[in-house]
């Protein structure tokens, strides 16, 4: 059986642009899917870490994946402690991100003048109800969230590391910090999806000024993940989930979205970090832009033509994703494995490829789990170089 060291090396090689022994797979499975598969109720099992780790033990013992799956919950205990309006639990227990508008268009000047001051005075108390409580309740809420995240995050990190060794999973860090494209940050945490798209027509200059002042924050947020220590590209990788780009007209994308994102990526890369990007939705019209980014960005694609993506992006960067996860629900074993081989035939040559779904498995009922096992085994065998 392949051990943890062997599988870690597969990822280390790919992320360094070297040819691995075989294609590594990193099929995304959310903690909620693992909890449901273990028979737990999402409405109560996501609090704490005991049930999450029990569920993760079960799923990782059963499926011979290259990476640990079904772990890292959405931490509702943190978001509830601060009364988050941007991260709320749905009726069935799954955490949702509502399209919340926090900032009014009349407040652009305040945001631009001092973004941190605006965030702490205006945005935070509106986004998190506990921060609008009078002193000292607001301070207690902040302290509770900060300490809980730190304490439970460390417990999860240590438990996950031990579980990775126990079940022969890779321990190569793929993601160690999170940042955002400045325009996405403006849309998702200030003006909302619809508000930001309206603003680029009504207040284009203000939007451009806003993304310019948010860009240093996006860079500093990434840099702060090492608490002042100089990073290494192998061990410190910053994740960017791209949200708004594919919903914009190409000329708006080029003017409002891309320039500050590109500048953010180059600064984070130059500071010594590796880059991980989730290119949400379909980026086919925008693929050429990835050529402007530093080499060996690890880019997860959702949809698109694998051949064209491999040709245009795969020579300079590392590609992950695009296997249609819904096939695991409706397909036979033969169909599931045939599709995997078809994708591997296109993506594996030349390396710089990690096998993954187009979308992670979020819920247990979303797939036939026998098919999941067949798929994982197929990739290991057929993905050998």
């Amino acid at each position: 059986m392949e051990n943890s060291e062997f599988r870690s090396q597969l990822f280390t090689d790919v992320l360094a642009g070297k040819m691995p022994t075989r294609v590594p797979e990193s099929c995304g499975v959310n903690a909620c899917a693992a909890l449901e598969l273990a028979g737990y109720d999402l409405r109560c099992a996501q609090y704490g870490y005991t049930k999450v780790l029990e569920a993760a033990e079960k799923i990782n013992a059963k499926y011979d994946t290259d990476t640990l799956i079904g772990t890292w919950p959405a931490m509702p205990y943190v978001t509830k402690a601060i009364g988050s309006r941007t991260n709320v639990m749905g009726a069935d227990g799954f955490m949702q991100h509502p399209n919340v508008h926090i900032m009014e268009p009349t407040e652009y000047n305040q945001l631009i003048a001092d973004p941190l001051k605006y965030m702490w005075h205006e945005q935070m108390p509106r986004a998190f109800t506990e921060f609008s409580q009078p002193w000292p309740l607001n301070a207690f809420a902040l302290l509770k969230a900060f300490l809980m995240e730190k304490e439970l995050g460390m417990k999860m990190f240590m438990a996950n590391y031990e579980m990775s060794l126990k079940y022969n999973k890779s321990t190569t860090p793929v993601l160690t910090a999170i940042s955002r494209a400045p325009f996405d940050y403006l849309a998702d945490y200030f003006r909302s999806f619809t508000g930001a798209l309206t603003d680029i027509r009504r207040y284009p200059e203000k939007v451009l000024e806003a993304v310019d002042v948010l860009k240093p924050l996006m860079v500093r947020g990434a840099l702060a993940s090492t608490a002042g220590n100089v990073p290494t590209r192998e061990n410190n990788r910053v994740f960017f989930a791209l949200h708004m780009a594919t919903y914009m007209r190409p000329k708006d994308f080029q003017k409002f979205w891309w320039p500050t994102f590109k500048a953010t990526i180059w600064d984070v890369y130059t500071a010594g970090f590796g880059i991980l990007i989730f290119a949400e939705e379909n980026w086919m019209q925008l693929l050429d832009f990835f050529d402007e980014l530093p080499p060996l960005c690890h880019i997860m694609f959702e949809y698109g033509d694998p051949k064209i993506i491999k040709e245009k992006v795969g020579k300079k960067h590392i590609i992950q994703g695009m296997y249609p996860v819904d096939l695991l629900k409706r397909g036979t074993k033969e169909e599931v494995t045939a599709k995997a081989k078809e994708l591997l035939d296109v993506m594996a040559p030349g390396g710089q490829y990690i096998f993954d779904f187009d979308k992670s498995i979020l819920r247990a009922k979303q797939v036939d789990w026998d098919n999941f096992g067949y798929l994982v085994d197929c990739v290991k065998e057929y993905g050998k170089y």
Binding site: A177, L217, A227, T270, A271
Partner: protein
């Protein structure tokens, strides 16, 4: 200066909202021998608060 510190300087956040190590050194009478300690401690706090603001509270 390392590339990391250069990028940090390039992206200096112009806000008088956080009490940074530079503010502390200007505001109080501090023994020059202790200034590095202050820079280290407040620098770490500032980084942690910044990271918390831009990750946990922006998630």
């Amino acid at each position: 200066m390392s590339a990391y510190d250069e990028i940090k300087e390039k992206n200096k956040i112009k806000s008088d909202y956080f009490l940074t190590s530079e503010n502390i050194l200007e505001k109080y009478t501090i023994d020059p021998g202790a200034s590095d300690d202050i820079k280290e401690s407040f620098g770490l706090v500032e980084e942690m608060l910044l990271y918390f603001t831009l990750t946990t509270l922006s998630n």
